[in-house]
Assembly symmetry: C2
Homo-oligomer: 341 residues x 2
DNA sequence: CTGAAAGCGCTTACAG
DNA sequence: CTGAAAGCGCTTACAG
């Protein structure tokens, strides 16, 4: 395999000059440069990137830790990160934790071992103190998930108020028996959306019955099972707010399998506005998060941290939007217009 | 930041011994080892992995090039790869091409630049000669997609026969006016499934009308639009075989929006058996691919290539399975049993 | 079982 | 504008 030294010899220059042609061409005379480039092309020389990484102590890799790579939500966020990374010459290393906190911790070691220049966490379930310490030493950004009172750059929406908005929508339709299928309750996002739910209920003096709160695990199947439980109650709810669209999808399936009509017998609100929420029949009322933009912004902030640029704002809170669709709209338009790009 | 040399001094040994404690502990005496480990823990020393990569000329990174990270199909394949990689101490670097052939080519450079020890391509749309050459120099595996007559290890199903099977299912239901929504026709998979479709039609002496073949681009939206075109024909088809479930989902939505009942007026078959195909109403008849196993096997083969182990079989062809569901089953079970894990 | 020394392939501060 | 030289932090063949 051709090395820089070999190229240098062929071009009758020093390795330093070859390096400059590749990394700082403006420092080399036009003549030398084209001579060297010709040799590079001729022998198809590719610099040994690991050697460069080692020499410069920069990898141009960043790590993104995702709780679930198969989720439609996170893959959109990833896209945003990816685009900004690529445009700035960074590779994305993907760490999929599959919602396992130990694996989340393991990935952090990649930072300590200098395998990556920075890290974006889309899941923040580990020790707060450790993360805070880490972020004083390394470029680190949280996105989507966050930790209360943590002094680390964070990009997200306001989950409490979004959940409140979703619940208020159900209340405004006249529902009083409203249930919530939460996410895993050890995750802050789940607690925040649950809090928003309770706030909306309480401010209308509506009872929050404990059997109306069922803990899911973000997945379709748990949405299905928890909805089945809710429907089996002596007094089943007439409306349900699910932590995310995937569980809302499961809840709707459970209703159908139980002969319960959505939205007439049961109104359902989801969260995230994944593509399936508009495709499903009925389409699902949901909270739209700017997934791509969250990813984009998180990467932009990470770049600033890596380049030691000043951060004007440590917490970025994006706006979300309630999108009302068939799962809460009693007058169903059979020919609902297809929502597509 | 603590270096190996610092640890060595603190433990009163040479750096070589510290290195051995970390990489080959069996070569070090029990006493020395525990002394060194104590220091390592005390100062929380983490080896500089890039230095190690540089020294050993092995990165323990592998690259997976995916055509679309947001696809439910590919993320399952990724999981299989990931699990085997992790178990063997490899990190996965993700290259998302977004179906762009130039980006596919760019990712290949990571191999030439020695940033990764090997590569799994889930998309193979670039120059055959180049790939073949590459695979003689570097560990390289194709999975899902492949190239005809290419002498590179490949893991996939037999797409021609699967497509034939899917089409024969429609024929066996009495359909004669059968359409096909293909994938992008510059991709071999699309051509293979189209070929299987034609084979099934011709062997039954059924006409393959050119207007019955519509080229999509793998996405929901194109399934929708192409189905709309098919339904607008003077003699619309009574059945359609879509390249994948995502487009089948789009086709079904188009039928619904046009007041065409699935499966009574239009039977639909998809491909891949993504989760949504069982959730959708009607659930979708499809070809199940062993997604996770394909990923797993591809990574196992890559490991063999990396370790210079012998390969018994360059082409692995997995079995697929036709799963008959509501989109082709006229007697609809309202209480269809939910298929879940 | 342990240490001294070489070297992986680049980049860059320094000198000219 | 260009070159000689140092050095990034490890691992391993060699010697003892």
């Amino acid at each position: 395999m051709m090395k820089m030294n070999d190229v240098a010899k062929l071009a009758n220059v020093s390795p330093a000059t070859v390096s400059r042609v590749i990394c700082h061409p403006e420092l080399v005379s036009e003549e030398t440069r084209s001579k060297v480039l010709e040799v590079i092309n001729q022998v198809n020389y590719k610099p040994h990137i690991v050697a460069r990484q080692f020499r410069t102590q920069k990898t141009r890799n960043i790590l993104v830790v995702v709780p679930d790579i198969t989720s439609a939500f996170f893959s959109k966020v990833l896209r945003g990160i990816e685009h900004v990374a690529l445009k700035n010459g960074y590779q994305v290393i993907l760490g999929d934790t599959e919602n396992n906190i130990e694996r989340e911790k393991d990935y952090v070691d990649l930072l300590l071992q200098k395998q990556v220049d920075g890290m974006i966490l889309l899941t923040a379930r580990q020790d707060k103190v450790r993360l805070e310490e880490l972020s004083t030493q390394f470029p680190l950004v949280l996105a989507c998930e966050y930790i209360d009172g943590l002094n680390v750059p964070t990009v997200s929406i306001d989950n409490v108020s979004s959940a409140r908005k979703a619940t208020e929508h159900l209340i405004s339709l006249g529902h009083t028996k409203i249930a919530h299928i939460s996410g895993s309750i050890n995750v802050i996002l789940s607690r925040d959306r649950l809090r928003g739910f309770k706030q909306a209920m309480m401010s209308q003096n509506l009872e929050v019955e404990s059997s109306y709160i069922q803990e899911g695990d973000f997945k379709f199947e748990s949405g299905y099972h928890q909805m089945m439980k809710l429907l089996a109650l002596e007094v089943p709810p007439t409306a349900v707010f699910a932590f995310n669209d995937e569980m809302a999808l499961g809840a709707i399936k459970a209703a159908k399998d139980s002969g319960v009509n959505v939205p007439n017998d049961l109104a359902v609100v989801g969260f995230d506005n994944i593509k399936m929420s508009s495709i499903n029949e009925p389409s699902i009322t949901t909270i739209d998060q700017p997934k791509y933009e969250i990813g984009k912004k998180a990467m932009e902030i990470l770049l600033k941290l890596i380049n030691n640029q000043e951060l004007h704002n440590k917490k970025i809170v994006f706006k979300d939007e309630l999108i009302v669709r068939g799962s809460t709209r009693k007058e169903i338009d059979v020919k609902e217009t297809l929502e597509m790009v």
